[in-house]
Structure formats: structure tokens, C-alpha cells
Point group: D3
Chain length 286, copies 6
């Protein structure tokens, strides 16, 4: 998904309000009000660039006269020590927006970079890397967007647009058989996904008539996944299979090689390492 303009605007304003409740004390003391400057965005890590419309909005909110130009487009892979764009305008406006713009760029590019690295190890079109609802509160639309930019796919966005039956639902209903029974009557335009924790639970799903469209193998070992895929192929070849739990950059290729069509990972959004990006004033004039 691509965030709507008003969503970007609202998130950016919130970030600026947080950082500028009463102006930029340092710059107001030091920097002449009419000093102009040009500053470059500089990648200091290998990164997949993500967050351009957000960074642009930051500077537009601070000062509509700041101009931004990008040398690479959103989603590009950038080498370390590459200048990938600049902002030009009043020095004080650049200084006010710098940190907030970088906070967004570093976080979103951090997500896109990791997703790109992981998804590039998957067979194109054979295995999809999915995000989850384990997002940073308040940033969901941006994080899901960064996943897409990185080359992943979005799982459901919220509790309102997907049916995913997890351990707590099963526990609350009194066990998997009761859930499967209940599923028969459901009519809805959403597919139904069910989480299983063991091969035995999977057997139950495969043996019971029900309306499950996708099964989520939670924390299965590669060995178990292999067996699970065989069972599904034999008994319900149309059943989609998703794997989750403990997937890392290191082992994702192994999982994909088993023929898993969907791999989901909460860490893509809940444990993001920011990439390093600088913003350097290079010229000033009046």
C-alpha cells in the first residue's frame, strides 16, 4: 500500500510538534534568519531508499519554500557514501527539519533494506515475504509501505480486514475441533487463515471439512515444514501455507527452498535497525 497524503501529513506534523514545541533554540540563537543553505542526504550504509514523500513533507511543513531534489528514486539501492539528494532553502529551515526527516528516512529505509535483502533470497514469485500486525504503534501505514518498497507483501493491515484464527481464539472456543466446526457456517469476503502449532493440529485441519483457506505453521522446524507441505499437497492442494516464527536473514533461504509459498516475519517491523544517513550542509549564501 501507499500511504495517503493526509496520513503522511498527520504523522509528519505529530513528529514535528514533538520536536519543535517552542522553536529551535540553537538555530535561533546562532543562525542568521536570512542565511540560505544547501544540504545533501548522504547514505552511510548500503541501503534501499524509502521515505522520500515523508521527508519532503517534513520540510514543506517547516517551510514551504524549501526545495528538495532526489538523485535516486524511492526504492533504489544506494551504496555507502553516496549523496542521494539535497534540500535547499533557509539554513534555519533545513536545521529544523533535519532530524525529523532523518528519523523517518533511517527507519523506513531500515525496513526496506532488510526486506530487500531477505526477499532477494527467495525464488521470485514462488515465495512471498509478508509483514504482520507487529508494528510500531502510530507508524503502521508507513511501515507497511516500506515493506512493499523493499519487495515484500502486506499481510492484513488490522483486525478489520483479515480473519486469522490464533491460539487464543482456539483456546477461548475450547479447542481446534470446535473452531473447525464453527468455521463451516462463515460466509464472508475474507479468506480464513488458521494458525497451527503442531503437525497433529495440521492433521486435524486437513481431516475435518472446513473453510480454511490458509494455514499458518507457527514455529515449525524445517523438518516439520517439509512434512506439512507434503500432507497439504496430498490432502488439500489448494490450501495455502504460511510459515512464521524464527525467520531471519540467515535462514530465510532455507525456508524458501522447502517450497513454502508464504513466509511472514514480525521482526521486519517490530525490530528495525535504522540505516545510517547523514544530512550535510555544503554551501551557504545570503
Amino acid at each position: 500500500m501507499h500511504p495517503e497524503l493526509w496520513q503522511i501529513r498527520e504523522i509528519v506534523l505529530r513528529a514535528l510538534e514533538e520536536d519543535l514545541p517552542f522553536g529551535d533554540i540553537t538555530s535561533e540563537i546562532l543562525i542568521p534568519a536570512n542565511l540560505m543553505a544547501k544540504a545533501y542526504f548522504l547514505a552511510k550504509d548500503n541501503l534501499v531508499l524509502c521515505g522520500q514523500p515523508v521527508a519532503e513533507r517534513v520540510f514543506q511543513e517547516v517551510d514551504p519554500e524549501v526545495q528538495i531534489e532526489w538523485f535516486y528514486q524511492e526504492g533504489s539501492e544506494i551504496q555507502p557514501m553516496t549523496k542521494f539528494g539535497y534540500a535547499k532553502g533557509k539554513a534555519i529551515s533545513l536545521l529544523k527539519g533535519e532530524r525529523v526527516a532523518l528519523n523517518f528516512l533511517q527507519h523506513l529505509s531500515g525496513i526496506a533494506t532488510k526486506v530487500r535483502r531477505m526477499s532477494s533470497r527467495l525464488g521470485k514469485g514462488k515465495t512471498f515475504l509478508l509483514d504482520t500486525r507487529k508494528t510500531i504503534p502510530g507508524l503502521k501505514v508507513l511501515q507497511k509501505y516500506a515493506v512493499k518498497i523493499g519487495g515484500g507483501e502486506n499481510h492484513r493491515f488490522s483486525l478489520s480486514d483479515g480473519i486469522l484464527i490464533k491460539d487464543n481464539h482456539i483456546k477461548a472456543l475450547g479447542g481446534l475441533p470446535k473452531v473447525l466446526e464453527k468455521l463451516k457456517a462463515i460466509q464472508n469476503m475474507l479468506k480464513i487463515e488458521l494458525e497451527v502449532k503442531t503437525l497433529e493440529e495440521l492433521d486435524l485441519v486437513l481431516e475435518t471439512p472446513n473453510r480454511v483457506d490458509r494455514v499458518l505453521l507457527d514455529n515449525f522446524s524445517p523438518e516439520e515444514i517439509k512434512k506439512a507441505l507434503e500432507k497439504v499437497k496430498a490432502l488439500r492442494p489448494d490450501l495455502e501455507v504460511e510459515v512464521s516464527g524464527g525467520i531471519t536473514e540467515e535462514n530465510v533461504e532455507l525456508y524458501a527452498s522447502l517450497g513454502v509459498p508464504y513466509i511472514s516475519s514480525g521482526a521486519l517491523t517490530h525490530s528495525v535497525r535504522a540505516v545510517d544517513i547523514s544530512f550535510k550542509i555544503e554551501e551557504t549564501w545570503e
Copy 2:
């Protein structure tokens, strides 16, 4: 700092709105409206617990009748596989709030845990571990709070409450000597911090009369830091020294052992690894 009630409320509402625009489809289909349940919070990592008032607020917004009890207080160190609290109420209300509450708890405890690990390696009262403005947009007050819970200290909160002169200011003003000149006239209730990138820049600060209260040694090697501390001790013993750049859990002890009074790290808040926490329904009744 401790976030104000209205700040928690606003952040929590935003997170819930993001996750429940049109209800919890899965639970509304499966779970009887009057089914009651009790679910436990379960630590699956070693962690420092942080986020209790936020998690409480999540469930209160969903359903004021949900009751929460904690077995450990905020800031406690929790062992893996420890139940540290429970929520009790309508099953559907627990399911609605589960993910959002966990997203907060996992992120904030992730910060507190890392800060605790790092700060516990510092000489108590000799070296302070500080956060920065490199925060996740929209979560600044909560992240800064988690740093405090972890045992760190808060650096400035925003551009409005601290004077920190960085490379871009120096560049914009035409070099360090001009900045130092300008500093003489400043009168303000905020102390002045100045970032230097080399020992030469530090020399200049030490040699020029000015009003700098703290110097930030940016990306100095341990060797350079040692020299810097000696110079400061000799020439301006009242000048506070802060070190930043490349500090990790592994090397923080080394830096502290040099006698650095302030160590700041953006990674504490910009690159957070969520700790693993589950929320398990264990009983239900009607």
C-alpha cells in the same frame, strides 16, 4: 520523564484506531459476546518490564471493565517464561487489545532492557548513559520514559529545550572560531553543548574563551577520548564531556572505564529490538 496521562491516552487511541477501524472481524465471528476470559502476560526473553501504564490504557480504551493485575512492578527484571501479570474481562475485549498492548510492551521493554544491560556496566553515578533525539516519530515521550526506566538519563527532548551546536551549525556559520566568538554573547538558562569531531577542534574550544558547558566528542576512538579527557582536565576541568558514536553493549564498558562522564547513543531508541512477550488465555467462563 514520565509521560502525562493525556499523552498516553492519545498515543494509545491512535494505535487502536490503526488496528480496529471496523472491529475485530475474527473475534466477532467466532467468540461469543459474553464469554469471559483471563489471559496472562508471559515473558519469553530476559527483559526489563516497561509499558504497564500504556498496556493498561489499551485495555481500558477497548473496554473499561477489563481488569489488569501485575505480579512485578514497572522496571522489574523478568526471567524468561515468567508470567508477569494478567488481564481479565470479556474474551473479545482481551483479543481486541492483545496485539496493540503487546506492541507497546515489547518495544518499550526492548528499550528498557537494552538500557539496563548497558548502564549496569557503567560505574554507578560515574558515567551516565544518555538517549538522543534519534527517536521513532510519534513515540518520543514513551521512548524517553523507557530509557529512564532502564536506568539511563534523558538528553534534551526536542530542539526547544537544549542548545547543541553540531557540524551543520558550524558549517553554516563558517567554522568553529566564528561559532565560539558568537557564543560569548549568549545569555540563557540552557547550558551549551558543542560537538567536536577531532582533537584539533577540541583544542580550539579549550583555547578560546567561550561559554561552552559541555563538549560532545563525536566518533572519537578510545585513544582519542583518553587524550581529550586529559586536555580537558588540564585546561577546563569544569567542562563536561560527552562521548557519542559507535557505542554498543559490547564496548560501553571500555568507554566508561576511560572516565567518560556522559555516553549518548541514538541506537537506544532508533534501532530497538523488541523483546518477546506472549499473552495467553488460560481460562474462560460465561
Copy 3:
């Protein structure tokens, strides 16, 4: 769906702000500040009651001490001239909230009443009456809730939680064959619905391999619907069929009798006739 507490609160506050920017001039002039009163809600039409949590919220926002009691529960069928509940508290508070509470109750009960009348003419569990996205801006969650209370089902809530391919998509893509081609590659947890306007278009859908889960017959005559259902039964019995366009209270039974499983109607929410409800003070005291 059931609206969340914060959604009701926000909609109610907006309505009150609209109606009380500077107080209730009439009541402030006439009514003694400490006069207490009890007022009854009186149905003046045959109606299905809907909106209780909204009406309660109205009075709670005006004055938390107003007490409300209902003699019938949400969704009940009420006869004309039946008192179905009362509010008790300061007379001035009752007068302030009266009109806004009634505006909600009359609108939402209007929806529920019409949906109940229509859905009661459908074979239980055989034909579902669905709403659409043709809602009154700003009231979507309440209107969709009223449809459920009335006995209907909710179609997708927004553009974000359902795939419905309509004439404009087909036109933009250059015709139905191109759309069907493109559908093959889609992988998603949402089922796919496609609108067709003629039997010929339906034939094309049935003949082309694709991933359509439901077909929406737009403005088909009963005769055409019959033929369509036969074709579907013969060629793709798993394909769901939805009918839309020109469905009214008068003819809904006819459509249902054809064996149509899903009937959707925009008029349920875009052209609502408010039911008549009064609010009558019957006692006062000090």
C-alpha cells in the same frame, strides 16, 4: 460490526459541538439550573430500536449524572406509542441532549427497521442482505452497525478491505478480458468480486480461467438472474453470486425466491427514512 467506544465518543462529540457551540439559550433563560426531570423515549412508528449506546453517550457527554434506563434491548421490535426507555437528571441536561440523541436514534433505528423488514422476507440463512459503501459520510461505522442490528450483513467497509472490480476498473484496464487475465496473478487474503452488467460478461467470466470468488450481477432483471444462476451452477458452482440494483422492500422477496444468495442495496444506508421517536418530560422535581 459493533463500533468501538472511541468511535462512538468521537461521533457524538462532533454532533454535540455542532448543536451547542455556545450553550442552550432557550433552556438557560427558562429552566431553573437545579430542576430535575424524567423524560421518556416514545416510539411513534413501528420500529427496530437501534442506537442505545450512542444515545447514552450523548447524555453522558452533556452531563455524566444523567441516568438512562431501557425497557427494551437494542434490536427489539417496538410498537407505536410504546415508551421504550427514559432519561433522568437535570432538566437542562435532558433538554441539551434531546435533539442530538433523537437524531441518532431516529436515523439508526430507521436503518435497522428497514433492514429487518427486508431481511425478514428472505429465507433465513439462504439469502443474505448486504449493505454497500454508499453510506452517509462520517457515519459509516454506525450505519454498518445498524444494518447488523437489523439483521443484514456487512459488505466491505472501505476500499482497504475488499476487492471489488467495477465498471470503471474494467474500462480503465481496457475491457473484461484484460481484467480476467490480470486476475490470475493476484495472491491475497481477500476474495475477489467482479461486477458484470450483462449475461455476456458473465459468460466471459465463466469461460475464462481466473480467480474470481464472487460475481456481482448489476441491475439484472429477475429473468436474467435466473439464467445467470443456472449458468453459474453449471459451470462454476463454487462461484458466489450477488445481486444489486433496484432492490426494494417490495421486490426483495421475489429476488430471494430465485435463489440468490447475496443481495446488496445502497439505499439501506444512502436513503434512510428516519423513524419517529419522541422524548417527553413527564415529571420534574427539585
Copy 4:
């Protein structure tokens, strides 16, 4: 009244947020991002066009580059099957805004159309058709605007800008004589309107010295209205007379023919039938 820019903006944003929490899934899957399109607004009913500034704002919020042109101006009477304007821009932007724009246009034109039909049956300048506070919560300024566009007049907007003494006030104060007594002392820049339910109550108003400027005859039959008007003419010729209750398109002419100067109707805004308007993509290019 004409709604202010910020009022339109706020209502439009709320409607878009409701419909696009996570993007337009269908269009993002199907429509090429750079496909351009032109789509026409097509009247499918006889209608009085209302809502142009609102529809414009919808598309501007979605994408500031969408261009709109109208072939008829606000308030025009449009024949069925008439194209009355178009929107031009990215196909995906047109698809995102389509439904929300139509929801506004259909509702507001629905109001304007009905008001025009009714008011055109009244003697120009002799009888005024008025709206009430029985509006759809959250849309009051737009609904009141549509009434004006249709040719009606606005009664008071809220409880804060008009004094209207109704049955509940009279009941609370202990009867009409006590109210009339109390009215003597009121000094205010608002005229005073009083609702009466019988000719006897009207007699009391006419016989008692008081400060009532307008009398509202609630649910009087045509016969009673005739008598009422005679009494007023005889005893207080300056007293304005308003009639309310059970006024429809069919009988409004009869009421007007009695010489009633003000007719008010809640149904104008609480029971709106949307007019039918389509939005059709006719051309696309890249």
C-alpha cells in the same frame, strides 16, 4: 449559509479516512500507477445539483493534481442522463475519490432537489420553506447549505442561536401560563418562538401579554391553521406564524395556499432520498 473552507475540509477528510484507512486495494492491484483517465459525472435522476465544492475537495485531498470542470453551476436543475462535469487525473486517484465524492453529491443534491420541488410550489416571497435541527449528525453545515441551494431558508442552526420554546420546556416549567409570565422579562437579541399544539394554547398566547415573536403551530390540521391565522390577524397581526408537522411534497401547496408565511420540515434533512449520480471513466491514456 455557505460552509467555510475549513468545515468542508474537515468533513471531507473524515469521509476519506473512513473509506481509505489502508489504500484502495483493488486499484493498487489492477491499475497501472501512471495511467491517466477522464471520468464524467452523470445525472441519472432529475436533480438540483449541490455539493460541487465538497466533491472538488474530495479529489484535491486524494490528489491535488486532479482537475475538475463543471458544465453546470451549483444549484442548476439537471435532466437525467446529463453529463454535468468531469474529473481528470491519475486513474487511481479518480477511483479512490469516486465513491466518497458521489456519496456527498447524491446526498446534498437529494436535499436540494426535494427542497426545490417543494419551494417551487410556494408563492415566491410569501411562504418560506424552513429546515430544522433534525439533521444528520456531523453534516449539519452541509445539509443547511443544501437547503439554501434548493431555495429554502435556514431556521436556527443550533441551540445557541435561536429561542424556541417547545413542549418539554413548557412541561418543565409547569404549563404555558408560567412560561408566558417568564417571557416578559427576557431581553435578548434573539426573537422568541413558541410552539403550541392546540388552538386553546394559541388563544392563551394571544391573550397574555408576552414577548413571543413567532408562534409554531405543531401538527395543526389545515382547518385549524386557517382559524389560527384568523385569530392572529385579529389579535396580534405582527406575530409571525410557522407551521410544522406532516408537511410533504404533496400537501405543501395546500398549506401555502392558506397564507402560512413559514413552513418547516424535519424530513428535508432527516429523511433524505439520495439522487442517482454516476461517475464514468470514458478515456484513459498514459
Copy 5:
């Protein structure tokens, strides 16, 4: 008017957000978290107390457990050095709310005190002291409320609830005769007020048939006012007369003695002198 609960809540929250973006640094450093305290409100001027519900709300937002008790009720006249209430709760909560609560109390009591002093010099029920739209942006409902508490009356609240024709309207329409001509056709539930600047303009109003209900004599001298009142009495005894411009505490009695029924003053709300109120902690415990 009395402000609604949600209006107080919104204004209070805004004030607290302004004053506590990142907590109370001083108190967090110094005050033990569990120290309890009791603090008294102390009048240091002669004042009319106004703002109790606002001050209560301030502390409730900071900490719902703070208890407040008042020794005098809203609107009371308080002598200097009188304790008129106290707040009891966590010391840190009292310190957080202190300044914001006082800012409201001092401002609103400042208005009420001045209004009381001025209105007490007017013949009870003969001359009314009115406020204007010259209010402090964002505080209008509270300021208008303070005027009422002081004993004054509210003129119109906004541009939406009163017709006041001023010099700019007259200039725009091309002179007073054209305005008076236009007024004949107006039908509205609002009375019409017209500002005149000279006796000649007043003559024109009195001589021309029109629908003016009140005339505002702007900046007339006492001598001119006398003449104006005589003219009105002779020619249009029902015309209400309001006087504005240069009214002060010192001369208001003179104006009233002329028999002017309405005196309005912008200074009541645009130039408020805060009264002096202290908040003193007297006891602490743990």
C-alpha cells in the same frame, strides 16, 4: 452561557500540553514520587471568583486522584488574603497543575471582578452591561461565561448568531440609505442591530421605514447620547439603544444615569487585568 464539559476539557488539555510537553523537570528531580500535599488557593486581591470548573478539570487531567474543595462558590466576592479552597493529592500533581490552574483562575476572575464592579454601578434591571466579540482567541466561551458570572450579559457569541450592521457593511453597500432600503426585505429570527456614528445617521434610521430592532451609538458623547435617547423616545420608542466606545469603570455610572438600557464594552474581554491568586502548599505527608 455556561461552557459545556467538552469545551472546558479541550481548552484545559491544550493549556496543559503547552506547559507539560515533557513533564515537570523541576518536580521530577526534587519531589519524591509518593509525597502527598495539601495546598490552598489564596486571594491576594479583592476579587469575584470565577473558573472553578476549569481549575478542577486542570487537576483532574493531571491526576484524577487530586481532590479539590471550595470554601466559596463560583461568583463569590472574596477578600484579599482569604483562602478560598484547597487541592489535595500527590505533591508532584499539585505542582504540575498549579500554574495552569492559576492562569485560568486569575484571568477569568479578572473578568468577573471588573464586570461586577462596573455592573454594580448600574441600576439593577435598567441598564445591562454587555460584552462583545473582542475576545481573546480560543477563550471565547470561558470569557463570555466569566462576564455572566460577573453580572453582565452576553452580546452575540459569533458572526453566526446576531445581525450587527457596522461601518464596514454600510461603506461596502454604499451608504446608510441603501442599507436601510435593503433591510426591509429581511426575514429572520434574529433581531437587527445597526451601528450609527452620528446623530445625523440616527435621524436617518428614525426617519426611514426599516426593520432595525436596536441601534448602537458608537463613541457618542454623553451629551449626544441624551439627545439620541430623546429622539428615539419621540419617534421609535420600541427601538432598543446600545452605547459603546470609551466606557470605563469610572464613567459607566454616568452613562447609565442617562437612561441607556444597554452598554457594551470590548475592554471587558480584550484588556483583562489578572487578579492575584496564590496556591500555597501548607502540609505534606507520605
Copy 6:
């Protein structure tokens, strides 16, 4: 400080919403919709002009086509009866924005004017005139800006960006010695200010080792201030001294002449006399 764009926008919108909930009744009745006009801002007092960006924003929100030109820049000293700018656009737009724009200009220029008068009596660079947190709720950023425009300096903005230890802190901690003891351990980038009420308290501060950076002499007589300055000079010459309490335009020069470096006054913002400014339409056209 200079308020950020979004802060101005939010404050302006709030003010307009307050004044135009349902349009400008008077102008909509009287003024032709397409009448154009030019109106001048006219100073009627001696004043220091402040609020230009706010007034501009008012008209831009009402109607983006209104043009404004200023003959004097922000902070200029304007003579009475000087036209200092104009607004040009639709007459109805000028009339809608007039009062709100003037309310801002008169209040902010009122502050700037008073601050200019007072600060011009101080030795340039020797004595600074400071504001306080005694501001009008909701207008803090604008009031602090006006103080700067007037030539004053801003004290802390909020409880979050300055440490000021006042009587209530001292009382809560059990006396000044305990406070001074506690201060030793504080490490923070904020300087510490301490309020003393007597020369004895000052002695205590001077005699006890502590970390106080500035002392606030509260309500000291000129004689006491003199003694205090001597003591400070003798014992802690680096300690900054601020004086507060009872400072007026009349006596500020006396205080400055004593050599006080910082004078703060709550009245600058809590008791503002609005300056008189008119807005006069001079031309109209169509």
C-alpha cells in the same frame, strides 16, 4: 522564539471556528457575493506592530484569494492614525476575517508595545526583560513571540525546559537547606534557578555549596535588591540574579539602575491591554 507555521494555523483555525460556526449572517444577508473591497489597517494608538503572520493566516483560511500588503514590517513602531497595511479581496471575506484578525493584532501588538516601552528604559545589553509562564492559556507561543518582537527575552517556555525552584518546592521538601543539599547531585543540561523571598534565604544559598546558577529575588524592595547584589558580588560573582514582583513601566528603570541583570514580569502576558486598531473598507468594486 518564532511560532511554527502549524502552530499559527492551529491557533487561527480555532479562533475562526469560534467566530464562524455557521457563517457570517450579517454579511450573507447584506453583501453581494461578488463585491470586491480593499480595507486598511489603521493604528489608533501608538503601538509596536506584532502579529502579521497571524493576521495573514486568518484571511488565508477564510479565503486564499485575499491579498495582504504591509507598509511597515513586524516590530515597527507605528504612530496613531497611521495606515500600516491593507487587505484586498471579496468584501464578504474581509468582513469574515476582520474581527479575528484584529483580536490577534490588538493583543499581540499590545504585548509588544508594552515590552518595547519597558525594555527601552533598560540599559541595552545590561538588563534583560523576561516573560514568565503566566500566560493566557492556548496563546503561549504567540505571546512569547510578541515579547521577543517587543525586545524582551523569553524565560522558560514550560515546565519541561527549565528548572525553577519555587516556594512550593521548598515547602514540600521541608525547607531551603534540604533543597540545597539535594541540588548537589543534580546533573542536567538545564541551569538551575532558585527563588528566594528574603535576604536570609539568599545568605543561605550563598553560604551553602550547591549548584544554583541563578537566584530569583521575589518581591524584594529596591533597598533589599541593592544589598543582595552586593552579597552576590562578594560571595558568588558568577551567580546570575533575577528580580521579579511588582515591576511596572513606571519603576522598571529604577530596578535596572540598581544593576539587576534580569527582570521578569508576569504582567507582560497575563494582563495585556489591547492596543486600538481599526480595519476600514475604503474602496469597493465588482
